[in-house]
């Protein structure tokens, strides 16, 4: 059984939109970060779908690199959030509105 490309792209779009919605409506910095991960995964799904469609391994190599990027990004981002929490005692992004104080 072969999954059609349209279905893969539609699923990827839905997941990406959920991620965008999460970034827009949540105010907790960590939840926003998780939504960004969700968007990265949506793009990964589209890449794998195209890799299947064009019968080539290149898309999967890109997915591999995106996963590496996501791991690095999570490490640095969570370190930033923890440093921020240490300074401000909050991760609510409505209260974090100064670059330096």
């Amino acid at each position: 059984m072969v999954v059609p490309l349209e279905h893969v792209i539609a699923m990827s779009m839905i997941i990406f939109s959920i991620g965008v919605l999460g970034v827009l409506i949540r105010r907790n910095a960590i939840t926003i970060f998780m939504s960004i991960e969700l968007m990265l995964n949506a793009v990964n799904l589209a890449l794998v779908g195209f890799s299947r469609y064009y019968n080539s391994v290149d898309g999967q190599v890109f997915v591999f690199l995106v996963m590496t990027l996501a791991a690095a990004e999570v490490a640095v981002g969570l370190a930033i959030i923890i440093a921020l929490y240490r300074n401000r005692q909050t991760v609510n992004i409505d209260e974090i509105n100064l670059m330096k104080y």
Binding site: V2, V3, P4, L5, E6, V8, M11, M13, I14, I15, S17, I18, G19, L21, G22, L24, I25, R26, R27, N28, I30, T31, F33, M34, E37, L38, N41, N44, L45, V48, G49, R52, Y53, Y54, N55, S56, V57, D58, Q60, V61, V63, F64, L65, M67, T68, L69, A70, A71, A72, V74, A75, V76, L78, A79, I81, I82, A83, R86, V91, N92
Partner: protein
């Protein structure tokens, strides 16, 4: 996942989502990526997230003040516009998408490794350098006194 106020519930839903995505990779015959998805995302990244949530002792997000509901409605509206915009672009595009070929030869670990170490050797090395930089940056940021 995004509609829940509690960050821990969101994280657990995200783990479920990653497992579902791994199953989708299996359906698309990207076997090694399905395994990597579970290892890296559901294993490493989510443990890091849960660890940070527990470290910061996040409770429930408090309800919005009344003024902000307009902002929320606007963001939902924007996302819907975004979604249907892409849908429209896809629907109006040239109709080149058809069934992929039945036979697929690029799903296993052999072809991925061969491509990664020959054609994409430089991006691979840059990715390892990126991981090193992220490691150093994280240690630098997490130190109490810089």
């Amino acid at each position: 996942m995004v509609l829940n106020r509690n960050a821990v519930y969101s994280a657990i839903s995200l783990v479920l989502c990653f497992f579902s995505l791994a199953v989708m990779y299996l359906l698309l015959e990207a076997y090694i990526l399905a395994v990597l998805e579970i290892f890296i995302y559901a294993g490493a990244i989510m443990v890091l997230f849960l660890f940070a949530i527990m470290l910061l002792n996040l409770g429930r997000e408090e309800a919005l003040p009344n003024l902000r509901y307009l902002q929320r409605a606007l963001s939902i509206f924007l996302v819907v516009i975004f979604f249907f915009g892409i849908l429209l672009i896809m629907a109006s595009g040239p109709d080149v998408l058809h069934q992929p070929s039945e036979k697929f030869s690029a799903g296993g670990i052999y072809s991925l490794g061969e491509s990664l170490f020959s054609k994409y050797l430089l991006p691979f090395e840059v990715a390892s350098l990126l991981l090193l930089v992220a490691l150093i940056g994280t240690v630098y940021l997490a130190k109490r006194k810089i």
